[in-house]
């Protein structure tokens, strides 16, 4: 077997030498390593001959009307050895005259037929390997393109989410494998205003990423110059229409938020409408307009709304509403709207939507499109903890202060806080189980305040106020870390924890919420206050 390559070479060499001797011939073999492909027409009778009588073909003994055979004959080929693998003709080995100028012997025929039998599968394997190599190169090229598209997309997204006192902005951006064209942006504007946009380019991959890059800089420039959302979209539409390929377009929701008054001015270029969540209610903010880049000289509605304290505005891309479950049902607008309506606070609207989406689509879900969710939440802002305290007093008119104290932030001292609170409320004669629940809730809230709010800085105290009226007791636990937002926590799930999908810890907020009748979080410029309410229940005062 080890002689095979040199044997092959000898045959090629011989043919080549033959061709060199015959100056008029035009053999396909131009060098040892380079062979020009020989195309055989599908109706050439040579193919029938090869199929019906396998083995060597002596060119001069067949008088069939074959253009291929005629050509081979003209090139000085005497013998054609078809290489057949699994019934497919995969090549021809063509031989000229013997160098001795004698005829080929029956031994030569035998040897050549054996050669064909052995060489065919080897050639087939080589062909398949080459094919696989080309396919792998193609796959690598696609992966590379995806990486480039993803990189463009990620580079263009804001590095930070703006923060402003009294507001909590949050974004969830989850690109699909194939890289869609979702993007979002924040533009700081004069007079304490913030431009916020969510957009989606049709198409995927590098074309979408390129249009996204153009759209983003265009919108950004227009937003800073023109301010009003309707004008910004109209301008961007005209420029994009002349610049982007036909059939491509960009849907976009752009709004300008006044961070002082909560008023928003918004326009919509064919994008999903935003939902405004207020207590137990949801409203859809409608403004009409064509997607950007489809038709020139379009007008865009520009409408007004206000995000009141305690309300949250949710912007999203269609990756959310158009996600499908295994039965090919769509997540859909009604479901999203209902989820925004029944959002009760806590882990955040984004977590609420994504948890429900995951449940809906199931485990085998492959994300079809980018998903972007952007939330703008307005807190009930109070100027200082004094005001917080006043508001508590007002809220519980006739309430009596049972206790006020402060404890330094030291690891492990939360139990002391709970014990002090329980001592203070002992005269209320709460039923035993409520009493213990309150103890756990107070300890957990104090632990959070010391660890996360005050970073265990012993110079920073945690303040505790205990108020009681005829129906309930209210305990306020205040830290000094209000400049940082309370991090979003995921709903703890024991199975996920056991499977390593969630950390083993992270039960604190869950326990607090479940231990008391009502929990409120109030954030001011420099403090967080957790308010725990417990009704007296049976057997109370």
């Amino acid at each position: 077997m080890s002689n095979k390559p040199s044997f092959w070479k000898r045959i090629f060499k011989r043919s080549q030498d033959q061709s060199n001797q015959d100056s008029s011939s035009n053999l396909e073999m131009t060098s040892e390593s380079e062979i020009k492909p020989l195309d055989i027409p599908s109706d050439d009778p040579l193919l029938t001959l090869i199929t019906t009588s396998p083995g060597l073909i002596e060119v001069n003994k067949h008088n069939i009307d074959s253009p291929t055979l005629d050509r081979l004959r003209a090139d000085g080929v005497k013998l054609v050895l078809p290489l057949v693998s699994q019934g497919d003709l995969i090549g021809l080995l063509n031989l000229g005259s013997r160098m001795s100028e004698q005829e080929y012997s029956s031994d030569d025929f035998h040897l050549l037929n054996n050669l064909a039998t052995q060489a065919s599968p080897a050639l087939r394997v080589a062909q398949l390997a080459r094919q696989q190599q080309l396919e792998a190169q193609e796959r690598e090229r696609i992966i590379y393109e995806l990486q480039v598209a993803r990189l463009i997309q990620e580079t263009l997204l804001p590095k930070e989410i703006p923060s402003s006192s009294g507001w909590l902005l949050d974004v969830h951006w989850q690109p699909a494998r194939e890289v869609g064209g979702d993007f979002y942006d924040f533009i700081h504007l004069p007079e304490n205003r913030l431009g916020i946009l969510v957009a989606d380019v049709t198409d995927k991959g590098i074309p979408a990423a390129m249009v996204m890059a153009t759209s983003r800089s265009l919108l950004r420039e227009a937003a800073e110059r023109l301010i009003e959302p309707g004008k910004v979209l109209a301008y961007a539409n005209d420029v994009l229409h002349s610049e982007i390929p036909p059939k491509m377009f960009v849907t976009c929701l752009y709004l300008v938020l006044n961070l002082e008054s909560g008023e928003i001015l918004f326009s919509n270029a064919g994008h999903n409408p935003p939902y405004l969540h207020s207590k137990d209610q949801v409203s859809e903010l409608i403004a009409t307009g064509m997607p950007l880049g489809l038709m020139p000289e379009m007008d865009y509605d520009q409408n007004r709304a206000t995000i009141q304290p305690g309300e949250t505005l949710m912007l999203s891309s269609d990756g959310l509403v158009e996600a499908h479950n295994p039965a090919y049902e769509m997540f859909g607008f009604p479901r999203v709207q209902e989820l925004v309506r029944n959002y009760e606070g806590g882990d955040g609207l984004i977590a609420h939507l994504m948890q429900n989406l995951r449940t809906f689509v199931g485990e085998a879900y492959e994300q079809e499109d980018d998903i972007t969710i952007l939330t703008i939440e307005r807190f009930e802002v109070l100027d200082s903890a004094v005001d917080t305290y006043k508001s508590v007093i007002e809220k519980f008119e006739g309430a009596q202060v049972l206790g006020e104290f402060a404890i330094a932030s030291e690891p492990g001292s939360e139990r002391r806080v709970a014990e002090q609170v329980l001592e203070v409320i002992a005269p209320l004669n709460l039923p035993e189980e409520r009493y213990e629940r309150l103890g756990t809730a107070v300890a957990e809230a104090a632990m959070n305040a010391m660890e996360h709010g005050n970073s265990f800085d012993p110079k920073k105290n945690v303040e505790i106020n205990v108020l009681a009226d005829e129906h309930q007791v209210t305990i306020s636990i205040t830290d000094q870390g209000g400049s940082s937002n309370i991090p979003k926590t995921t709903q703890p799930d024991l199975e996920a924890k056991l499977d390593g999908e969630q950390p083993t810890r992270g039960w604190g907020m869950f326990l607090i919420k479940n231990m008391v009748d009502e929990m409120n979080i109030i954030q001011t410029e420099d403090r967080h206050t957790i308010e725990l309410l417990m009704h007296y229940g049976d057997g109370g005062v």
Binding site: E410, P411, G412, S413, E414, R415, R416, E433, E436, R437, T440, A443, E444, M447, P492, L494, K497, L498, G500, P503, T504, R505, G506, W507, G508, F510, L511, N514
Partner: protein, 119 residues
Amino acid sequence: MTQANISTSVRKPNPNYSIIDIQGEVTGFAEDNLMDAFSQASNGKTTRTILLNFTDLEYMNSSGIGLLVTMLIRSQRQKQNLIAFGLSRHYQEIFRLTRLNEAISIYTDESGALAAIPS
């Protein structure tokens, strides 16, 4: 207050099961103590059932619950059964809320827990 306020002791009345008696506070500070006791009770992973005696538990917080989850993960990896007894009504409620009771069977007292050990 930064030290652990917990003491544990391990009893091995039978090669099939071990009992960890817990006294004091199950908080984040109890990690080394509880995990040592768990390793001791596991007896080189041969013990099939480990009982946690909470009769003298004074206080448990969310970090302590996190430790129990860690212990549960270790016991499941070692194919061991975890049983708890002596929990007060309040901590039984917390086990129910966190669904720990679905993974760690709860019994009122030691005799009840021992009777439940698979032979």
